[in-house]
Point group: C2
Chain length 282, copies 2
């Protein structure tokens, strides 16, 4: 079991990782590749004190190198779920499970747009992880709404389990779907509800009846990673210690709200790390 698991791979995550190591805690960053961070794409950054006029790429590399030199582990992967187990957390990283005593969420700007009914029906038919929840829909009807081709894997998994799978791609060129999956296109307007559970998907003027609605998104909304996490607007609610409303779950960087800036992310990563390590060592 590691002391601290960090979700995300941008400046907040790297600063949190560095500072966990500086306090002698074991730590692993579970993140996308470092060239996928917003910083990496920046043409020039000149407002992070002490490092004038750098390209985002050079700054990212300097950050990564500094964290690695201090023994931060980095697993390139997608985390789909974090399950509280009482004294620790179970992290589902592409169906490899890891244990950690504390979590720091550095998931970046929450760009995920939610549709009517989606948030309210989370856990009542709405899911962001087919491999986590698929078995609950054995013999039932499901819809998969996918922003990227990773949704195809989810749909193919469900196709083996469910009575029917309808696939609604929000991207071009669907390529690897099993034959028994129905593909539809259009604007997904709402998740419909009956008796407190999902009853269907409103696609333009059509209603597709279903028991489960799976969303494969480019960015997983943090409150679907950690059930019960308090969100305001699209930011995770934190106090000045970077504590969220859930014990032992911290957050840092763009996911805690504006301003979306390197210095804020790095500062918050530090604070979250010190807060988490202090609790873990208790």
């Amino acid at each position: 079991m590691i002391d601290v698991a960090i979700i995300g791979g941008g400046p907040a995550a790297l600063s949190a990782g560095l500072n966990c190591r500086q306090r002698n805690a074991s730590v692993c960053i579970f993140g996308r590749s470092i060239d996928s961070s917003l910083l990496y794409a920046a043409e020039e950054v000149d407002n992070y004190l002490g490092m004038p006029n750098m390209t985002g790429e050079d700054m990212t590399n300097a950050f990564f190198k500094h964290a690695m030199k201090n023994g931060v582990e980095f697993k390139e992967c997608r985390v789909s779920q974090i399950i509280p187990m009482g004294e620790y957390f179970l992290i589902n990283a592409e169906n490899e499970f890891h244990e950690a005593k504390a979590i720091i969420l550095c998931t970046g700007i929450n760009k995920s747009h939610t549709i009517t009914g989606e948030r309210d029906l989370l856990g009542k038919g709405v899911s962001y992880c087919a491999t986590c929840d698929g078995m609950l829909y054995r013999g039932k009807k499901v819809v998969v709404v996918a922003e990227n081709p990773e949704g195809e894997e989810e749909a193919n998994f469900l196709a083996d389990v469910c009575e029917s799978v309808t696939y609604i791609p929000k991207y071009k060129e669907v390529s690897h779907l099993k034959e028994n999956i129905i593909v539809k296109t259009g604007k997904v307007k709402a998740v419909l509800e009956a008796d407190g559970k999902v009853s269907g998907i409103q696609l333009d003027e059509e209603v597709i009846p279903c028991d489960g609605a799976f969303f494969a998104k480019n960015s997983t909304p943090p409150d679907s990673l950690v059930v019960g996490l308090s969100i305001e607007g699209n930011a995770i609610v934190v106090n000045r210690k970077m504590e969220t409303n859930i014990p032992m779950v911290y957050a840092a960087g763009d996911c805690t709200g504006v301003p979306y800036q390197i210095a804020k992310a790095v500062g918050e990563g530090l604070i979250a790390a010190l807060s988490a390590v202090a609790e873990v060592k208790k």
Copy 2:
């Protein structure tokens, strides 16, 4: 009139200054010399992301250079008072007065120890600035408690105005006091009160009657710089935008509380700057 005045000269102040310039605001740092910051004295810093294994001196110099390159003005001075004037603030920097639309306090760790009665009687006989308040004690008795030789100037000023001046140095080698000043040594235990005003100073077992008690401290408590500033423990109370309880007054860095770390100070300096500039430009 400048847009933003920053009080202090450490990493929070330099980050705030840099980011005011990045947003095209005029800014001046009123601070002690940069080699007086806590960072400057650090043997090695290795937890500010992107700048591994640096001496505090090298890091301070890199920070200073980056801020200067962006056109931050730096006045080496001691600020004794910030007076709200409605639409702007008046900053008393060694009796040179400057006007600013917004204030960012980056005054560092508040090391000032307050004694019984001191805080409660602020403005009711307790003062931290003889040149500001001295004339109120014309023909009266005052006591000056001084942590450093700057107290001697204060006492000499008061000696021309007041009926009597008693000087209690908390340092060795008093050198430049006027003849009519009485010097006493011992432990200052309390500021005494009668009818809601200062009535004397308790020095060991002796009571020295007086109307005014002046304190010359190594670090001015921020709530004596800005009257009415909300403090908790020894930290300035701020929200996540680094706003204090007083409109257009922001704070950043060690003065807002633990952890006392570079990354926190730099991050908070950035946030305070963006918040201040957004309000100033309204």
